[in-house]
Symmetry: C2
Subunit: 175 residues, 2 copies
DNA sequence: CCTACCGATCGGTAGG
DNA sequence: CCTACCGATCGGTAGG
């Protein structure tokens, strides 16, 4: 067997792009097939259903995010909250820009934990930890709505700026 | 004539809710009609097309936002950028929480202008004005995805916290 | 606002 | 992976 399952990956990749660009409902099975230069019905040789494709994509995105967050927090395990939050933001931007899926794939707990830790050691200030985490996360997830790989900013540049903005939104003072 | 055009408003209201909840493509003309207890085809006595309904909704949301922003900037016309941005954030939270439409209805220019002014007078700092405006705006638009009128936070409280977070994300220093 | 209907397209199956 | 097809549903029209 040569590259077992690689066709299935291609289907997921293509479908992910189309779902993101046009939405799940507005993307037909035939749209996906056309992008792969096969007939619509031929897709069913590889997938059970259209929903099956969506689940597979979401699973993959969630796993990628978890890996990114694990790596980010692992790399800077005992570092201060400032660096940990920066790592989390970078990981999130990376996932969102490289696999621009539904923004609903976010894990608020990690952000909340870092912010809580940062407040405890006096590195951050926030009058509502949950809201602060949500503020930052929705801004990050919003990247998926406007980011274009061929745009004026690279994902790395976006990450740099967003790390800065996020950190300052939690800074001690704004005067 | 009694309440001329009120049926059309009902259609817009119902469609707005359905589009927001399920997306435009996933909402059928018959879904809209069912919510009004009429036949699908009967909708066409009031509207020209499904797209026509969408345009009408977006127009209305945009107008509401413009009014909110105008009122906000008008109230504090000659004030410093800090207060103007605060007013803009408050207006945006108000619109987003009271008319939770598509988040795509945003006017980045106003935010960009205020940030530019703030930088000019030394009230704000941002290494990329456009990105800073986007960061704040996407966080604001994200409110529509989680805000519930019966939730733990009132729209006013959300506005207060978001004003604070936004201002600090543009603050002079984060150390 | 209704009934009755149109052509097009949908997700999916049969059989090869 | 193909051709050929299915029932269901889509947005929209005709005529009242």
């Amino acid at each position: 067997m040569i590259e077992a399952g690689s066709r299935r990956r291609e289907i997921d990749d293509v479908a992910s792009e189309l779902f993101h660009a046009n939405g799940y409902a507005a993307t037909s099975v035939r749209d996906i097939a056309r992008a792969l230069d096969i007939q619509g019905a031929s897709l069913y040789a590889h997938v059970a259903s259209k929903e099956d494709v969506l689940f597979s994509i979401v699973d993959r995105a969630a796993a990628a995010f978890e890996r990114g967050a694990d790596a980010a927090t692992g790399e800077t395990q005992s570092a201060d909250p400032v660096e940990r939050l920066a790592a989390l933001v970078e990981a999130h931007v990376d996932v969102v820009t490289s696999d621009p899926q539904r923004a609903s794939v976010f894990r608020p707990r990690r952000f909340r934990d870092v912010i809580t830790d940062g407040i405890a050691v006096g590195a951050f200030r926030a009058s509502d930890t949950n809201l602060a985490a949500t503020f930052i996360l929705t801004a990050l997830n919003g990247i998926a709505t406007w980011y274009r790989p061929d745009g004026r900013l690279t994902a790395d540049r976006v990450a740099d700026h967003y790390v800065d903005l996020a950190l300052r939104s939690l800074s001690e003072d704004h005067r």
